[in-house]
């Protein structure tokens, strides 16, 4: 099959209708399962969110809530036996066309990865190839997607290292990852991700593995670059403090579903879902009151555990840990409006 043939069939099968002109990404009723011989982990169920050009959407949720699986579903990089079993992932190509990534061919996905949608990962220490210099790794990204020669790719790699504020970029370009600290490596990952001017950057907990001061520097850097390069960012984190700093909009995930979505101010001012309230109560604050011994007052932790993804309750997944639970919470509940641009998956709080 020739290249153009494939592109045509792609466009038909991967129908991208339904994306507003100012939107880059729309995930609609996404379900991702890991199907094993005798059981199925329903890791993502019925997740929807939309991301406008130039904005930052934060997906927040505790460990295991499905944040990484969501981003890997978008990238088409799920590991076996993970499958997108339902829903659409609409993406606007830089050409202006919209495609549904769930139906896109392998070749289309290869052209999108790195060029259109870039991703940086949680683990800066292990996400770079230990056997290649950082310069070669960045340059590889450039010549994979752009018509250029070695010398130019290298020159651009140096520029990118400067862009992410690595001192002595001309020298560091020939370093191997093991010569660099975690923060430096994450800067390299960012440089690599930005190499081809992607319109969407998926950052999967880019600062979680870093210490607090480095974390703040990386967040500053990402904010600055977003303004300069006009990209949209899907920012994944489990830290409400980070959300407050970087996000325009927030989707809160719990056990594979989105329980609440709102613009960031609204979410912090008027959280609706009991789980969101619990998360907000657990933000560490510098000015948190101290008790008489001068110790910080303990953070509120949400008691109980997340239900098994192999054996989910039919009703609200948070029901087992919720302080407001009632008999009616054992019935299925959907994400519905509870205010301007504000969606919540709790019937009770919506009424309140």
């Amino acid at each position: 099959m020739s290249r153009s043939d494939e592109a045509t069939t792609d466009r038909i099968s991967a129908n991208g209708q339904g994306l507003a002109p100012d939107e880059v990404l729309a995930v609609e009723r996404l379900s991702t399962h890991f199907v094993y011989k005798n059981r199925t982990a329903k890791v993502i169920r019925d997740v929807s969110f939309r991301l406008k050009k130039g904005r930052t959407l934060a997906i927040v949720g505790e460990s295991g809530s499905g944040k990484s699986v969501t981003s890997l579903s978008i990238m088409g990089l799920l590991s076996e036996p993970g499958r997108v079993v339902d829903g659409r992932i609409l993406y606007r190509l830089s050409s202006g066309e919209a495609v549904d990534l769930t139906g896109a061919s392998k070749r289309t996905m290869r052209r999108i990865r790195g060029r259109e949608i870039s991703m940086i990962f949680q683990e800066p220490m292990s996400s770079l190839n230990p056997l290649q210099t950082v310069g070669d790794q960045i340059a590889e990204m450039i010549w994979l997607h752009m018509a250029t020669n070695r010398a130019n790719a290298r020159k651009r790699a140096v520029d990118l290292l400067r862009l992410v504020e690595i001192p002595g970029a001309e020298r560091r370009i020939d370093d191997y990852p093991h010569h660099m600290s975690g923060g430096m490596r994450q800067r390299v990952m960012i440089a690599m991700a930005l190499a081809c001017d992607p319109s969407l950057l998926i950052a999967d907990e880019p600062t979680t593995a870093l210490d607090v001061t480095i974390q703040a520097q990386i967040l500053d850097l990402m904010r600055r670059l977003q303004g300069e390069l006009d990209m949209s960012i899907l920012f994944i984190t489990h830290d409400m403090g980070v959300v407050a700093e970087i996000a325009d909009d927030v989707a809160v995930m719990y056990a594979g579903v989105a329980v609440e979505q709102a613009p960031v101010r609204r979410l912090f001012d008027a959280p609706n879902h009991p789980y969101t309230r619990g998360l907000l109560a657990s933000i560490p604050e510098a000015n948190r009151e101290r008790d008489d011994k001068g110790q910080r007052v303990r953070l509120t932790a949400i008691p109980g555990t997340v239900p098994s993804l192999y054996d989910l309750p039919p009703g609200c997944p948070f029901e087992t840990r919720c302080a407001w639970r009632e008999e009616a919470c054992l019935e299925p509940v959907s994400l519905e409006p509870c205010g301007p641009d504000h969606l919540s998956r709790c019937w009770k709080m919506r009424q309140a």
């Binding site: 990865r113 790195g114 190839n129 056997l131 997607h145």
Partner: protein, 313 residues
Amino acid sequence: MARYVAKRVLGMIVVMFIVLTTVFIIVRLAPGDPASLMLGPEATPADVVALRARMGLDQPVVVQYFSFLGQIATGNLGQSIFFNQPVTQVIAARAEPTVLLTLFSIVIAVAIALPVGILSAYTRGSLFDQGSLSTAMLAASVPSFWLGLIFQQYLATGAGWFPVSGFGSPSATFFERVHFIILPSIVLGIVNSALIIRFSRAAMLDVLNDDFVRTARAKGMSEWRVVIRHALKSALIPIVTVVGLTFALLISGAIVTERVFNLPGLGSLVVGAVLRRDYPVIQGVLVVIAGLYVLINFLIDMLYLAIDPRVKY
């Protein structure tokens, strides 16, 4: 880097020294007096005394030890009793079939094992994976002499593609001699590919789950490039180790195969020397093989240096 190399060279010398000492002790520990054993029961006491003097056996052990080390340091492995020639010459005359057999076998083993191992890992749990694993098990448990006989039967006698055995006439050209080596090399290559298959599969499985392989995919490159340029290069580190080990084992493994295919190599030389109690030859071959082991280990260390920038200097 220079320090790394210097360290390995020093290590190589130390190991070689230990090996030589061990060889010296083992040969001295063999029961009976080498001179009278060599000359047989009909020898006169005068003959025995003369041979003992020629072999230096009348000297104190310490003197014998140092003259042994000194000789080897100058490249002198002594004089063969049976051939009445320097051992170095005897070995040189028999080295070609063994060297060719070993080299061809390792090339064949790697040529089979690497693609099979990679594909097995990549398609883990597939029919191909299961099939190749059980075939590898089978290959590893088949005795090489048996496989050799089967191949002789079908590919040499039956199909007539290869000579059955031997190494050609002394006037045979290099390519004619190579023709004699191919069949035994295939046998040894198959038998020795099993271990490399298992290792390269395991190494690839390990690497394919690494985060940087996911990064490579996220960059939008082809699967081929992900697997060969990124994953395989990392997996090569353990694979090189096992290939080196196999190579070293092959040198001794060649002995059996040389017998089956009647190749006039070091294997048959050693077997003959044992039967004839030609001690200097046995000792010389031991030293040469030990030297090759040490050299291969050194080369593996140098390969690490070339592959992995994290190797500590």
